[in-house]
């Protein structure tokens, strides 16, 4: 039985005389008991499907063509009251940010109870407890008395999943439900959604940017690019043998966990913005397509067997570049040696001063030109180690040596020795770049601090922008005018300004789309070959670390539980925690 069906659905808004289409010619079928994955990078319009079903499109946007049908009723013409009667009963949603999706001022019991009351259930306490037990939460009764902030992200998501499935809905829409969660929790939540879905044969629309996740859970997959469907079909076929160049490119740009390390394919450019795709002719992917043909720019491809490409056979001609530059001969000349670092923070208490240990007995080294990965889940102390190394947090005890020289624990001398020798690349470029400064100002900040002349700085800007692959005119822009990938390049350029020997990079590719991530990873490797710096690369993504780093440190609860050659650690992990991390990684595609 078909639960949700889209027939050439189009969603658009008229803005200043231009019709902006976030979705166009969308066709898919979602049957009861199956999971349909909607896959695309940010800006592909994948969330719009869920919002169209919820009747919560952004202001001005309407479903202006085609038919989006739930069971037999048209979602486009459905009355608000009718839609509201379906929401929460027959159609339920699982959100992206579980911690933010529960009301902080109400207990879990009040929220769950309110929902069950709306469903007209009388034995609410028992029912809620039963549902919480069904999502494998322990002490379900006690949980109902608690507030969301007392729960972890994974627990919040389980509560929300329990609420979503409480009414035995026909359709559940899950929008990036695991993005905000740690890898190990992510795997559990994924399994849980599948398990709950199978109980009553619910249909699930699973929206994700991650092809690997889609391959884990989905029966069918719909790949979106710039609001257009590029490929639709059974997950096994689409992901194993992509027929569209975009799907293939996505697949090739994700680093792998198993088998031989292969070079990443990096798709040039970026997805066009809403305004740009109003003016595009022909295939929307043509400007970036690695195997584009002359008529792709003028003919709009129709879907044949779910593939919207004029030349589906061309995917085989996509060439993956030669494998990355080999890791430098391990010079075994250490840039950074850390031994016995210990760091704890005072926890505000009433009278007693509890101390929370953020990092204990941290010892490792980074050799010249070497990329060392630091992996672990949120709260494991990865970022604390980065701050300790940079001197932003003072250790309780332990030594840091920079190129063999012991750094004083604190004070101006320690700061001066670090300046110019090590720099940090921050996680969130939004926060790392002052929105009031031009790019050229930002990247030459260290020179301004020592009073270099304007000419010197202008010259340096040009070199730096070229090195990170940005064009000259970007220098005159403000961070808000850049894309996420461009901002992260500026972030890197600033760190490179003083030609440091060591970069400390904290989750610098985590918020980026896979194709942009591939570009940045290759940029880092290329820059190392040019400039020869070493890097402490902090990440939660083991595949990225495997691609980039020759050695890896695994952190868990403030301690390094395992370290060694990346291949060796990932092939034969010694510590239980490393094993559970590896097991939780979604399979390669």
């Amino acid at each position: 039985m078909t639960v949700l069906r889209a027939e050439s659905v189009s969603v658009s808004a008229q803005v200043q005389g231009v019709r902006l289409r976030v979705l166009q010619n969308l066709d898919f079928v979602l049957n009861a008991g199956s999971v349909l994955g909607v896959v695309g990078e940010s800006g592909a319009g994948k969330s719009m499907i869920g919002r169209a079903v919820a009747g919560a499109l952004p202001d001005g946007f309407v479903l202006d063509a085609g038919r989006l049908a739930y069971a037999s009723s048209d979602m486009g013409t459905m009355s608000a009251a009718h839609r509201r009667s379906l929401l929460g009963r027959e159609i339920a949603f699982i959100p992206q940010e579980p911690m933010a999706a529960l009301n902080p001022a109400l207990t879990i019991g009040q929220q769950f109870g309110g929902h069950l009351a709306r469903l007209g259930m009388s034995d609410r306490q028992e029912r809620a407890t039963a549902m919480l037990e069904a999502v494998h939460l322990r002490d379900a009764g006690g949980l109902l008395q608690r507030y969301p902030h007392q729960l972890s992200g994974g627990m919040c998501q389980r509560v929300l999943i329990a609420m979503a499935f409480a009414s035995d809905p026909k359709l559940v829409i899950a929008d990036e439900p695991t993005t905000a969660l740690d890898v190990t929790v992510q795997a559990q939540v994924l399994r849980l959604i599948r398990e709950m879905q199978e109980r009553v044969g619910t249909a699930v629309l699973f929206i994700t940017h991650d092809l690997r996740l889609a391959s884990e859970i989905c029966d069918d997959v719909l790949v979106l690019y710039a609001g257009r469907p590029v490929e639709f079909g059974p997950a096994a076929r689409v992901l194993a043998h992509p027929s569209h160049p975009y799907t293939r490119a996505l697949q090739l740009s994700a680093p792998v966990m198993h088998g031989e390390r292969r070079a990443l394919f990096s798709l040039a450019g970026q997805m066009p913005g809403l305004r740009e795709f109003a003016g595009l002719q022909g295939c929307v992917f043509a400007p970036r397509c690695p195997v584009v043909q002359p008529d792709c720019g003028s003919v709009v491809p129709g879907a044949v067997n779910g593939v919207s490409c004029l030349y589906p056979d061309a995917v085989d001609r996509i060439v993956v570049p030669q494998f990355l530059p080999a890791s430098p001969a391990s010079s075994s000349e250490p840039v950074l040696e850390v031994s016995g670092l210990h760091c704890s923070f005072a926890k505000p208490g009433l009278f007693q001063r509890n101390r929370v240990v953020a990092a204990s007995d941290i010892s490792f080294r980074v050799d010249a030109g070497e990329f060392v990965g630091l992996v672990g889940e949120s709260g494991s102390g990865k970022s604390t180690v980065a701050r300790l190394v940079m001197g932003l947090t003072l250790p309780d005890s332990g030594d840091i040596k920079l190129s063999g020289d012991l750094l004083p624990a604190s004070g101006g001398a320690s700061r001066r020795m670090r300046l110019g020798a090590m720099q940090m690349v921050f996680q969130d470029p939004q926060s790392a770049l002052n929105p009031r400064r031009r790019v050229s100002d930002i990247v030459t900040q260290p020179m301004r601090a020592v009073g270099s002349s304007e000419d010197e700085m202008a010259a340096r800007v040009e070199v730096l922008l070229a090195q990170v692959g940005l064009s000259r005119e970007i220098g005159q822009r403000y961070p808000a005018q850049l894309s996420g990938g461009q901002r992260q390049r500026v972030n890197i350029a600033r760190a490179l300004c003083v030609l440091p020997k060591l970069l400390v990079a904290d989750e610098i590719v985590s918020g980026l789309d896979v194709s942009v991530q591939a570009q940045l990873l290759d940029l880092l490797l290329r820059l190392r070959a040019e400039l020869g710096f070493a890097m402490l690369f902090i990440s939660h993504d083991l595949a990225v670390v495997r691609y980039l780093c020759s050695r890896v440190l695994v952190m868990h609860r403030g301690q390094i539980v395992e370290q060694g050659e990346t291949e060796a650690v990932f092939e034969a992990p010694q510590h239980d925690y490393t094993r559970s991390l590896l097991a939780a990684m979604p399979a390669d595609i």
Partner: protein
């Protein structure tokens, strides 16, 4: 729950040093005045020697911290010095006047909260309509009328031009005031004297309304803007996706979160409001600590200024404690930290 109790206790403890610092600053500031309390407490015929002797007796020849020590010791025993102009204990004067001020302030706070919170919710509920545009602009203009101007305007309109309400004192002069706590409304109620109650209410109406009107717009604006912020949160979207209706979302889900920043602001505003009673009392001839203060200031009556100033601080700290207690009750996250 135990945690909440601790936090409240801690809040009370924190205000003790604040009060000490405040009283010292007050004391020091007033000692720097070019006014000699000894000379003022003696008849104009006193000789310089008599004054010097008096100064010594009053401890005025010692250092300011030492004098403060004496004053503090006295104050802790309930003695705040003798009023220079009224020749009565300053503490007793304040104790007599305080109920009138508190009564006025509490009524004004109730009016301000009712108008502010009600108006804020209404303005938010009508967002996107012309009411919002007009209301938004209206609140800015209302904010531009300070409390004492409200007092004068209301007095002018309802007291002078359309004389429907009295505007002098706390009660009709012909009525006998029931003895008791000094809180007229409370005393009248407990004595069952409805004539007094009615008269007291009528006398309170204009001053309380004036003060309430001056502080309602700020509360209204903050509640509205915090509601707007809350509606951007994921949990409101998620609640809507469960099919919950708009009115229920507003009253059952959003308000409880939006009220928190509003309460914090109300704590500050009500501190200002308490100060606002001063001018209102002057304008409406209410025998509260405001009038006491203004008279003391005119007569450079240091013990009274000191005692009244301190009682204002105690009241402001009490208000902010009450607000903190409310926040603790309503915000599970504040309880946790």
């Amino acid at each position: 729950m135990r945690k909440t109790g601790w936090k409240l206790a801690r809040r009370v403890l924190v205000s003790v040093p604040i009060l000490l610092v405040v009283s010292f600053l007050l004391f020091a500031a007033l000692r720097l005045l070019p006014v000699d309390p000894a000379a003022m407490s003696l008849p104009p015929t006193a000789t310089l020697a008599e004054i010097a002797e008096k100064r010594h007796a009053m401890g005025l020849d010692r250092s300011i911290p030492a004098q403060y020590g004496i004053w503090l010791d006295e104050a802790l025993h309930g003695r705040f010095g003798t009023s220079i102009s009224l020749r009565r204990d300053a503490g007793a004067l304040v104790a007599n006047a305080l109920p009138a001020t508190i009564e006025l302030a509490v009524c004004a706070m109730i009016i301000a909260s009712a108008l502010g919170l009600g108006g804020g919710v209404l303005l938010f509920y009508l967002r996107g309509t012309w009411v919002e545009v007009v209301g938004d602009l209206g609140t800015i203009l209302l904010l531009s009328v300070p409390d004492f101007m409200w007092a004068l305007l209301l007095l002018l309109v309802f007291g002078v031009l359309v004389p429907v309400l009295p505007f002098m004192g706390r009660i009709d002069p012909g009525l006998s005031v029931p003895r008791g706590s000094g809180f007229l409304l409370f005393d009248a109620l407990s004595a069952g004297d409805f004539a007094v109650l009615r008269s007291a209410l009528r006398h309170l109406a204009l001053p309380a309304l004036a003060l309430g009107m001056a502080f309602a717009p700020a509360i209204m604006r903050v509640l509205r803007s915090s509601l707007i912020d809350v509606y951007h949160e994921d949990y409101i979207r998620q609640t809507r996706l469960r099919g919950v209706g708009e009115v229920r979302i507003l009253l059952g889900h959003a308000l409880k979160n939006a009220i928190l920043p509003t309460l914090t602001l109300m704590g500050v505003q009500f501190g200002f409001l308490f100060g606002g009673t001063l001018l209102i009392e002057v304008i409406y001839g209410t025998p509260g600590i405001g009038n006491l203060m203004v008279d003391a200031v005119r007569n450079a009556d240091l013990p009274v200024i000191q005692a009244v100033g301190l009682s204002y601080c105690v009241m402001v700290l009490a208000i902010s404690m009450a607000i903190d207690a409310m926040v603790l009750m309503l915000d599970p996250r504040a309880r946790a930290i």
